[in-house]
């Protein structure tokens, strides 16, 4: 087989692997669901046109030349999309390093590793771009329908920023390997991937709160200060925005820039990619040395279970990154709260739904990790204590963890508005209990490392958990603003949770 044929063959192999990984995520790894997954995806894409219309419909008539404020908003949106792609690309690169079981096979084969890893880098870029194109389709469709075919250029911009995001992700991850070593890179890269996407929006919100006392990031982007600070409308900084609007020259330059960047990364890093992969497989043993051997602790069997769960949660990289992300999302409302001490702003009401929603989401993840993600299921099942006590201990861990994370936010609120604090606390408890209950009813024994696939194992549980969190967040907000409406949304959300229980496999 010639070198070119081998590369083509390997590229096909990579695309096939990426497709099957994606399909497994969509179908929960179950065969015979391919058709259903594709139909479900098409329906989802069709439905997504409605929110897309609500978000971008009014911008369909935008035409060059644009004023500075519009250019800033458009460019900020592109930067946000780029940050999200970068986040996904970092996640993909670490997965290739740590999770693919084929590195030994590839590295022991008689092919040039530089070429093989160049293909792998290209495959990462391709998967990032494909996902971005898929998610952006409803938005671009709405713009094309409302504003003409010139908006098709937006797809080109997605490809260009996807190329650059993949290139930067690979460079960042390999640099992390060199700087902090393989074992720490895994955790740091996960945290980076989790916070990069959210970080940009949150930074804008913080700026808006500090400058204008509002949570709206548009307040910053459309402000006179931003316009004064931004470069001239002819600046290259606006090329991406101009390319989106159909400027062919800007689009071509952007695509060329993306390709050159990815090509440079391939040339520079493909050999180090191989080297890094070897180091990861050779450094299979992270050296987490315990500082000292402490005495075994006494306590009941349930206490032993709770201690083990807390220890594992504390050492879970996913949980650390997710908690950090949730806490990041809570920074803007916390900042609002801090400002409200001085000016008693009515906007403080917005804090309650954000906290309740975050509690529900985090509780769902925690509940999956403790209840379903049991790595030593046989050990716990053969232990001399009833299964009900095992489950109770695990639920207690989820609720205690949620209390510890959210109490520092609810307690200060009680100094500003005791009623709001009480409603927020109640909302947190109900949202966390609902998410935990849903995870309990739909529990499936799995390894903790399979956490990424938890949302595909039961679509019903995923949607119920999301609707329950949103419902309880809305109920808590309405309880403060229009109490009678809160009764209605509360009953509706309780209905969703009850219906979920009714059709859950545990009840059957």
């Amino acid at each position: 087989m010639s070198s070119a044929t081998a590369l083509t063959w390997f590229a096909r192999h990579e695309i096939r692997l990426a497709w099957r990984e994606w399909l497994a995520m969509m179908t929960g790894g179950r065969r015979g669901r391919k058709r259903r997954a594709v139909i479900g995806l098409m329906i989802f894409a069709a439905i997504m046109h409605l929110p897309a219309y609500a978000v971008v419909g009014r911008f369909a008539d935008l035409k060059a030349p644009l004023d500075k404020s519009t250019l800033i908003v458009l460019t900020a949106t592109i930067v946000l999309a780029w940050a999200l792609m970068l986040s996904q690309a970092i996640e993909s690169v670490t997965r290739v390093f740590y999770a693919r079981a084929d590195l030994d096979l590839i590295m022991s084969s008689p092919v040039r590793l530089n070429n093989v890893f160049s293909v792998r880098i290209a495959a990462i870029a391709l998967s990032v771009i494909a996902m971005a194109l898929l998610l952006s389709t409803p938005f671009v469709d709405v713009l094309v329908i409302g504003g003409g075919i010139r908006w098709f250029a937006a797809y080109g911009v997605v490809v260009a920023i996807g190329l650059s995001a993949a290139a930067v992700a690979i460079a960042v991850t390999i640099a992390l390997f060199r700087l902090i070593g393989p074992s720490r890179t895994r955790l740091v890269a996960q945290i980076l991937a989790a916070i990069i996407g959210a970080g940009f929006v949150i930074a804008l919100q913080i700026a808006a709160i500090l400058s204008y006392g509002t949570l709206s990031r548009f307040a910053v982007l459309t402000s006179d200060a931003a316009a004064a600070f931004a470069p001239d409308v002819e600046s290259y900084v606006w090329w991406p925005a101009r390319a989106v609007l159909g400027d062919g020259e800007a689009l071509l330059l952007l695509l060329a820039g993306g390709l050159v960047l990815l090509g440079a990364v391939m040339a520079m890093f493909s050999s180090r990619f191989a080297d890094t992969a070897v180091r990861v497989s050779a450094t299979a043993t992270p050296s987490h040395q315990a500082a000292r051997t402490r005495a075994f602790r006494a306590g009941s069997r349930q206490q032993a279970l709770r201690r083990k769960e807390f220890l594992l949660l504390r050492r879970d990289p996913w949980l650390i990154s997710q908690t950090l992300m949730q806490l990041l999302y809570l920074v803007p409302p916390a900042l609002m709260l801090w400002r409200s001490f001085s000016d008693s702003s009515a906007v403080i009401v917005l804090i309650t739904p954000v906290i309740v929603m975050a509690a529900g989401q985090l509780a769902g993840g925690l509940a999956w990790l403790t209840i379903s993600g049991e790595d030593a299921a046989d050990l716990v099942a053969t232990a001399p204590l009833p299964p009900t006590r095992v489950i109770r201990a695990k639920i207690e861990v989820v609720l205690i963890a949620i209390s510890v994370i959210f109490a520092p936010l609810v307690l200060p609120l009680s100094f500003v508005s005791p009623l709001q604090a009480a409603i927020t606390a109640l909302g947190v408890i109900i949202a966390a209990a609902s998410a935990t209950a849903i995870q309990l009813w739909f529990r499936v024994q799995a390894k903790r490392s399979q956490f990424r696939r938890r949302q595909t194992s039961s679509r019903l549980a995923t949607f119920s958990e999301a609707f329950s969190s949103i419902g309880w967040a809305a109920t808590a907000a309405l309880a403060l603003a229009i109490p009678i409406a809160a009764v209605i949304t509360g009953l509706m959300t309780a209905g969703i949770v009850a219906a979920t229980w009714k059709i859950s496999p545990r009840r059957a």
Partner: protein, 264 residues
């Protein structure tokens, strides 16, 4: 040869329940096919019992039902006279189970894992701490006591799982292929440890594909095929039952589970 499909084993019938570590009667489990077929099995207290059989014979399913990991469709299981289906907690208190795929927590150190297991079985921490340390040292894990298990090889993980099974000092240890993935030195460590436990009065039931281990270590050997116990006894008894006084266990095994292959 005594076949279970014609008659229950002769010695168990006269054995009092308290003399037996395990007494299984009519144990049945069906998945898409019959996995365990009305199996009768008795293991005496203080005995090393090896359960051998071809792949898919029903060995693991049988032991998983005994350990309380699977609910049988029919039959009874008694552990030291305790009805394990009626009173599983009391039965589990006396037992330990080690699976062929070691299930431990990647993010815990071996000592933390053993502390957790001892806590689940309600062992006094002062006793379990010293036992845990001794066990891990005797299994050659002393240099790794403070490391998390995530980087351990399969053999090291198997040793940690085994130490977990022993730390609460069970009276009955059930092991499913415990020597899989262990190097020769580690296998010798494990065999030595199990031998010591049996000499101290503990009962060990072990499935294995390594017939030499069954031949050398087991007091009695049970041969299982198609979910039924087709032969049982000491190696000498098995030879006598088959009329081959000088044959190896391997030849006997093939004769028992696949007579056509043996004839060929």
């Amino acid at each position: 040869m005594v076949r279970s499909d014609t008659q229950h084993m002769d010695c168990p019938d006269i054995m009092k329940p308290q003399d037996s570590a395990l007494q299984v009667r009519g144990l049945t489990k069906r998945f898409d096919r019959l996995a365990v077929d009305a199996l009768d099995l008795t293991v005496r207290s203080g005995e090393f019992y090896a359960l051998v059989g071809p792949n898919g014979a029903g060995k693991t399913t049988t032991l998983r039902m005994v350990a309380g990991l699977l609910r049988p469709d029919a039959g009874s299981v008694a552990v030291f006279g305790i009805d394990a289906l009626e009173n599983p907690i009391a039965a589990k208190q006396a037992m330990a189970w080690v699976s062929d795929e070691p299930m431990i927590y990647d993010k815990l150190t071996p000592l933390e894992y053993l502390e957790f297991v001892a806590g689940l079985w309600g062992v006094d921490p002062a006793v379990s701490q010293s036992a845990a340390h001794d066990l891990l040292v005797s299994l050659g894990l002393e240099p790794h006591l403070g490391e998390r298990c995530e980087g351990f090889s399969k053999g090291m993980r198997q040793k940690v799982a085994l130490a977990g099974a022993l730390v609460h000092d069970p009276r009955l240890i059930i092991l499913d292929e415990p020597l899989t993935g262990l190097d020769a030195v580690s296998a010798r460590h494990v065999k030595g440890l199990l031998g010591d436990r049996v000499r101290a009065g503990c009962t060990v039931i072990m499935t294995t594909h390594i017939l030499e281990v069954a031949e050398r270590m087991a007091d009695r050997i049970g041969v299982i095929a198609a979910g039924r116990l087709v032969a049982e006894g000491t190696l000498t008894e098995l030879r006598q039952q088959n009329g081959h006084n000088d044959t190896s266990l391997e030849d006997l095994f093939i004769t028992l589970v696949n007579p056509e292959a043996a004839a060929a």
